[in-house]
Symmetry: C2
Subunit: 367 residues, 2 copies
Amino acid sequence: MSVSTVSNVLNGRSRRMRPATRRRVDRAIARLRYRPSRAARQLRTGHARTIALVVPSVANPYWGTLAVHLETAAMRHGYQVVLCNTERDRRRERAYVAGLWQDGIRDIILGSALPSLEHVADFMARGLTVIALGLRPDAGGAAPAASITVDNYRGAVLATRHLLDLGHRRIVFLSDLPRVTSRLERIRGYRETMTGAGLATDTVLVWARGSANGGSDAGGADAGRGAARRLLSRRPRPTAILAGNDLCALGTLAAAREAGISVPAELSVVGFDDIALARVVTPPLTTVRQPAQAIARMAVEQLLRAQDRAAHPESVTLVVRPRLIVRSSTARIVDSNEGGVRSGLTHVPRPSTARGVAVGSGVSAIP
Amino acid sequence: MSVSTVSNVLNGRSRRMRPATRRRVDRAIARLRYRPSRAARQLRTGHARTIALVVPSVANPYWGTLAVHLETAAMRHGYQVVLCNTERDRRRERAYVAGLWQDGIRDIILGSALPSLEHVADFMARGLTVIALGLRPDAGGAAPAASITVDNYRGAVLATRHLLDLGHRRIVFLSDLPRVTSRLERIRGYRETMTGAGLATDTVLVWARGSANGGSDAGGADAGRGAARRLLSRRPRPTAILAGNDLCALGTLAAAREAGISVPAELSVVGFDDIALARVVTPPLTTVRQPAQAIARMAVEQLLRAQDRAAHPESVTLVVRPRLIVRSSTARIVDSNEGGVRSGLTHVPRPSTARGVAVGSGVSAIP
DNA sequence: GTGAAAGCGCTAACAT
DNA sequence: ATGTTAGCGCTTTCAC
């Protein structure tokens, strides 16, 4: 039998083939444990069966977890995953993408996307498939093959409302410098909710010093701690802090502990991501969940879909509804007492039996 | 000029070349921004410039951090890093390695190595370069190109002695099922130190249920929590727990909190790894540090060294001395009172100003 | 010291 | 429906 027949089988072009032939090929492949050479394929097609995962840093457990799930999903379809830690630097990100393109990698998942994809638009025009994570549906400029994102705006609204419902009024949003869209959206959700309630907005942004130290910074826990320390020495002190992500929230918890401020009795803290450790820390963290596994799977599905550019040229946005997971880092404040006289405030901690309450869920697709 | 000349330059065979020629080539390369095609190179040489990082799961922040540092170091030498999460399964590990070999990958870093490398020995015989992390220097069977490991035995000794010095007697070692060498060594260090002090040994091992759930388990925090919960209901209760790694220690902290047991007043906890979060949790964790960045760098260096098999055929072991980082999860117990009458015990917590004390440091090489 | 030429293992256009 | 064949971009003998 000829090589082209085998090649046809390998590449799913077996429709017009005699079933018997196809079976013979399949059997031979199985018997010989034949597996095509990636290198030769790539040399010929110019396309590596490799997905590049471009994220700030897998030292952040959220991205680490996503990486694991992505690898699992990718492997099922014969794809490898290569790792690119960009520390959210725009130029570094572009340099990475250029290198990946050079290496014949045509599929990348851009985690924590910058507000626009302009810096890699030329590669996209040449045929790079990018799946953007955390890009706004209405982002201008070059459109990715697919954009998958938790509704960050809504997540922040959920979190802010939760705090408002608990009686908090002096709520601060704490984040390292927001370079990525997701963060900006979260801030927007916080601001609009606060303003809508007739309250003053207070957003504290810090440079993550850690960005220079090669990823061991755990993506902002230290930054969060430093900023929270200063924040908590303000008078009147905020009664609640909404953190840009879980790591930042853990840093806040640490700062509160150092300052002798009890959480949630004297301070409520909400995170974002729901990393595995969120339920393990003291106190267990109330947070907005981003379902990493689901997102990883969707990313691979979309990549595969986009593979056939002819059949699916359109750009798709998948918006995942976030869920607020209520644990024990948030509690009711009985008397909000606008002026902020501290003695007038009383906090009643939630019973620690609360295991986590989900608010909202589901996925909606915007074609 | 001819292609072979360029090829010679590219592959560092420029010694016998006229310097002027060499310069001409270099300039042309720079001007054209020429970069050789990985695929073609690989097809020709059978060797991909790619390092596979084989670890239990990058959802564990320790491996995530190591992955980031590895990627940085690898990139400096023109290598990519592909990710393989094996969940510590021997068969899965072998299957991965077989696939990697198929794909022309000849360099792998085996994190958290199993006690022996037998399951991949055939590939090593065929030319696979493996750098093993956490393998015992005296491990039998096939020898890796290099083995890099923190002295796990010594680390556990340091940790155990620390607890002993603080007056603890009922010290339990808590770990998920120890399939990897590093864990076994830690247990050995704990046991011998305890026995040497004339004390009874108590090792609690749990199946990490999380191993099935695809890496979102955060590598044992949940398992640690569950096991610690049961452990802490024993009478007499242990006064100190030595955890198999930091994640497990964080789980222990959670269990103690749930049981209303205060750390370090009523229970001391020691971890292993020193992940970035160890200093951020409540209370900050006393732990044995494994320097991820240094280890990642050494791994790449050794890989490069081993590349030239002719010049460096020998197998090398690098043993890194662990440091005990004392934070606030351990405290003195004044009266050890052998019988274990609870009312006889008094714990004096360390002042929370303790920032971390290093005991021991340095690297020793055993050729 | 430099150049010419033979493939590495595939895919796809073309021939049958 | 199946077979033949020309490269993809490099490395590496082997002549010169």
